[in-house]
């Protein structure tokens, strides 16, 4: 909707510069009171595995993976910070790779294996990364935290797998868990509370304990 509104305004705004008063009409594509047939939402069946459990859902095809998790499966650990793939709060691990779950439709994940923050550990049984975040205070308000932790776990896997990053000096050599590498790879996860320095400490400790090359 913003695209449509802004385009309308920009076009008229350019014409109207200097005008004392003008009428702006924000018109929908459909003018009649009756919805056009194409507006009827389509639904689809999708089945995937979330945290080891098979889930079968009948979903509006516009439903993102994030909203399927949060609104349909009530797994609200994955957060909606921007719904635009800009903040990383919705990061989950799908088939071993981290993704922004707000940028992908649920129906695209037939047969996928999804791991959310709830699948990594629980309050009584923290995963090592979750425990390290608590120990090093790698969070404040907690809203970006599940995404940070899912990303952090996946980043260490990426380094172990030898996947280079923008700051890797040698694309063919094994990567290392240096602070620069961690910061670069974590930069898709925004923390407005500014816990970055502590998050890197938490990740470094987990990397060291798990023998990821430093």
């Amino acid at each position: 909707m913003y695209e449509a509104v802004d385009a309308e305004l920009s076009r008229r705004g350019v014409l109207a510069v200097g005008a004392a008063s003008m009428a702006v009409s924000v018109a929908p594509a459909v003018g009649s009171a009756r919805p056009a047939p194409e507006l009827q939402p389509s639904t689809a069946h999708v089945a995937f595995e979330v945290n080891g459990e098979r889930q079968a859902l009948e979903l509006d095809t516009r439903t993102t993976l994030l909203d399927a998790l949060r609104e349909h499966l009530h797994l609200t650990g994955s957060k909606k910070g921007c719904d635009h793939g800009q903040c990383g709060a919705c990061t989950v691990i799908v088939d071993g790779r981290r993704i922004n779950s707000c940028l992908t439709l649920a129906v695209m994940h037939e047969g996928s294996r999804v791991t959310t923050i709830e699948g990594l550990g629980s309050p009584g049984r923290l995963n090592p990364m979750q425990a390290a975040f608590v120990k090093h205070d790698g969070y404040q308000c907690g809203y970006c935290t599940p995404g940070q932790i899912c990303s952090a776990v996946a980043v260490l896997d990426e380094i172990r797998a030898g996947i280079p990053s923008h700051v890797s000096a040698d694309l063919n050599a094994p990567s290392a868990t240096t602070s620069d590498e961690l910061r670069e790879r974590m930069s898709g996860n925004i923390c407005r509370c500014g816990a970055y320095s502590n998050i890197i400490k938490a990740m470094s400790e987990v990397a060291e304990a798990s023998g990821t090359p430093a």
Binding site: Y2, L9, G13, A16, S21, A23, V24, S25, V26, A27, P28, V30, A33, R34, P35, L39, Q40, P41, D60, R70, T76, S78, K79, K80, G81, D83, Q86, C87, I117, E118, S122, A131, F133, V134, D137, Y139, Q140, C141, G142, Y143, C144, T145, P146, L182, R183, E184, M186, S187, G188, I190, C191, R192, C193, G194, A195, Y196, S197, N198, I199, I200
Partner: protein
């Protein structure tokens, strides 16, 4: 409990629990995704309707007509609420603009309608079908056009330092005219966005004429008051719950359109409705930190003593709004007999300006502390020595009024030592490390310590658990943890024995979270309630408070030891901390020395922060781990303010163009190096029984200037127009190979 005399020795001084870097007690919930935020209350309402807010497409004018027919006929739509359906609404005195527009439109993206549907997807799609004809009027969107003409205007937002419109001491003009060394500089700071990670969100549920909102709010009692005023319903009929808050930084001090529109929508639809603002709506629908233009004049003798100091600031807001009080700290930070400070307020038709973390001081120090750097250079003095020379232990405007405790000098000296300040080359543009020009900068940090009444209830259960309940919020600050520490210390029980319930207006009203007052005041309120519990237990046992001790889960009276569960099981008390006039008798403030090292790419002008250190003097530190996190987070925000944050105004249409996290840049991991924080070991018994003060905003105050001064030291280029982006540096960088 009335606090009107400085604290003497009290149970907090035992420091058995207080002062330790406890992990946050809410950590396991937050790190596993089990802490429920406002939009996630499936436990409260299994099947809410979804609201989607439509914002105004114009900045100023009128709604000529609204046609909701197509939206209402769209799949899944239950209701559409506009000003016509909303019923009579008022504007609380804490809102400058109405939270629902109609027929007048006051700013771009002001809510004009909410569409309620059975799913988020249907509500969002139907919002596109609402047809609105606007009558657009010209607006005022350019602050620079009103600089020099806007009238003086004071402010006291209740969040931060109040400010008279114009303050004068001595004869500034004469002293400045005759000063042998002087500078006259102008600086500008842009509009900034809080950009907390959790968008504003509310779940609204009506039960008859009683409304409950699960929302994301910093100040529960204010939210109750403002919902009651806006909806014209009795306060007793409003309950507000914010168990977890995904950041606020001032954006959630007051309810926003999500709360009001959710309430209206739920009433119209006859069922619970939840609403979250979209990320792009946050910038134009809610509030922002207003841009400033600031002029600073400093005059000094050859000895470096300031004789004349003037700080004037221009900012803009909607009609009836308030200025960004950027001159507040300049009234108090440095000595000088002749002084002038003034805030001027332009009228702008941009979205509402309001408090963002350290309102006033954050942009004010970005100017003042650069001016101090420039003045030190003009005097040929070291910037730290220059600041120390002009330190004051009394309020410079009222010399009979002392600071309760002030050790800015200690912050600067210790920081200089730890940071290696002596290695700084005072001549700018001299230090190269490979392709990097390297420089160091310093700035003083300053922010007042504010005292607010705060209440709490403390219960001891029959099995000996201690339960603390207060409407205090934890917005990432660590409230849950320091409140548990306070109760554990006061009642002599281990942390694990304490349960803390926060963020519910059915609990006693606290100070809330804002203005870095939350930590000190809310724990002082818990102290008061615990002290009352101690008194009542003593009375019950036929003793007096002075003769009994609470330790190890037991109450000790002479040789007797009684388990707390036995002595106090089933007891519940409530009390509040209320302050006398110590906040007026003494100036209560917090202090920091901020040190930054940057590298500036000699070829591209790219600025990278290499090292950061903050040395803070803020009274007793209740939990060094969570306090340190507050400070490093604030330092991070300071880097953003210095180097990237800039809400760009489209001056034709009147809105912030870069209204999301891809276009409005905040620091990411790669921007922030390892950060060091040192707290001076001190207490301030004049502040509260906790002897603590605030740190959450102190950590931000001065950081931007320290970055700016470091960039200057690295390059010799002084950028007075924030943010310091490479385009402002590159033309003037030293010649390279």
């Amino acid at each position: 409990m009335k606090f009107d005399q400085p604290a003497t020795t009290n149970p907090i001084d035992q420091l058995k629990v207080i002062g330790y870097p406890h992990d946050r007690i809410d950590g396991p919930l937050k790190t596993t995704g089990h802490a429920p935020y406002a939009y996630e209350r499936h436990d409260i309402v299994a099947d809410p309707a979804y609201g989607f807010i439509l914002g105004s497409a114009i900045a100023k004018g009128r709604i000529a007509s609204i046609d909701t027919g197509a939206a209402l006929a769209a799949p899944g739509v239950l209701k559409v609420v506009t000003w016509k359906e909303a019923g009579p609404l008022a504007k609380s005195k804490n809102h400058t603009a109405h939270l629902l527009a109609g027929p007048e439109v006051e700013h771009y993206d002001q809510a004009v309608a909410i569409v309620v549907a059975d799913s988020f997807e249907n509500a969002r799609a139907a919002a596109k079908l609402v047809r609105i004809d606007y009558q657009r009027e010209p607006g005022r969107f350019d602050l620079s056009q009103q600089v020099g003409r806007a009238p003086p205007k004071g402010a006291s937002s209740g969040e931060g330092s109040g400010s008279e419109p114009v303050d004068r001491v001595g004869d500034f003009e004469a002293a400045y005219a005759s000063a042998p060394v002087k500078i006259d500089r102008s600086y500008s700071t842009p509009d900034q966005s809080h950009s907390m990670m959790e968008p504003h969100a509310t779940l609204a549920v009506w039960n008859g004429d009683r409304l409950t909102v699960w929302t994301s709010n910093q100040m529960i009692a204010w939210a109750v008051r403002d919902l009651s005023e806006t909806l014209k319903i009795p306060k007793e009929n409003v309950r507000v719950v914010s168990t977890y808050v995904g950041g606020g930084f001032g954006a959630k001090l007051w309810i926003r359109s999500d709360a009001v529109m959710a309430a209206l929508a739920a009433r119209a639809a006859g069922r619970p409705v939840k609403v979250a603002l979209t990320r792009p709506q946050i910038m134009n629908n809610t509030t922002h930190r207003p841009a400033t233009v600031q002029r600073i004049r400093l005059g000094a003798g050859h000895d470096g003593k300031i004789t004349a100091i003037a700080h004037e600031s221009w900012s803009g807001d909607l009609p009836g709004g308030k200025p960004e009080t950027s001159v507040s700290q300049t009234k108090l930070l440095y000595a000088g007999a002749n002084r002038l400070t003034a805030d001027y307020l332009a009228t702008l038709d941009l979205p509402e300006g309001n408090a963002m973390r350290a309102p006033g001081e954050a942009p004010g120090l970005m100017a003042l502390e650069v001016a101090m750097d420039e003045m030190a250079e003009a005097l040929g003095q070291d910037p730290i020595a220059f600041r120390i020379l002009n330190d004051t232990q009394v309020d410079p405007e009222k010399p009979g009024r002392a600071f309760s405790h002030r050790n800015l000098i200690g912050c600067l000296e210790l920081g200089a030592d730890r940071f290696g300040w002596s290695r700084r080359n005072p001549r700018p543009g001299q230090v190269r490390a490979g392709r990097w020009l390297v420089g160091m900068g310093v700035a003083a940090g300053f922010r007042n310590n504010l005292l607010m009444k705060s209440a709490a209830r403390v219960e001891v259960t029959r099995d000996g658990r201690v339960v603390v309940s207060t409407d205090m919020t934890d917005i990432g600050t660590g409230s849950y943890t320091i409140i548990a520490q306070t109760a554990a210390e006061m009642l002599g029980v281990p942390m694990e024995t304490v349960t803390v319930n926060l963020g519910d207006s059915s609990f006693p009203a606290s100070s809330g979270s804002g203005g870095q007052w939350g930590g000190n005041n809310s724990t002082a309120g818990v102290y008061a309630a615990c002290q009352k519990m101690r008194d009542e237990v003593a009375q019950k046992l036929g003793s007096n408070s002075a003769d009994i001790h609470f330790e190890g889960g037991q109450v000790q009276m002479g040789d007797r030891r009684i388990p707390l569960a036995e002595a106090a099981g089933g007891m519940s008390v409530e009390d509040a901390i209320e302050y006398g006039d110590l906040g007026k008798t003494y100036q209560q403030s917090t202090f920091a020395g901020h040190f930054v090292e940057v590298g500036v790419d000699a070829f591209t002008g790219e600025v990278r922060v290499r090292r950061m250190l903050a040395v803070c003097a803020a009274g007793r530190i209740l939990n060094p781990k969570s306090a340190r996190s507050q400070v490093i987070g604030a330092m991070t925000m300071g880097v953003g303010a210095a180097l990237m944050e800039d809400a760009v105004v489209d001056k034709r249409i009147g809105y912030f163009v870069n209204h999301d996290l891809a276009e409005y840049h905040v620091p990411v991991h790669a921007d922030i190096p390892h950060q060091e924080v040192i707290f001076l070991d001190e207490t301030d018994p004049i502040s509260s029984p906790m002897k603590a003060k605030g740190v959450g905003e102190l950590g931000l105050c001065g950081v931007g200037a320290a970055v700016s001064n470091a960039v200057y030291n690295a390059t010799g280029v002084r950028v007075r127009d924030y943010p310091i982006t490479l385009d402002k540096l590159i033309e003037r960088l030293p010649e390279v190979a």
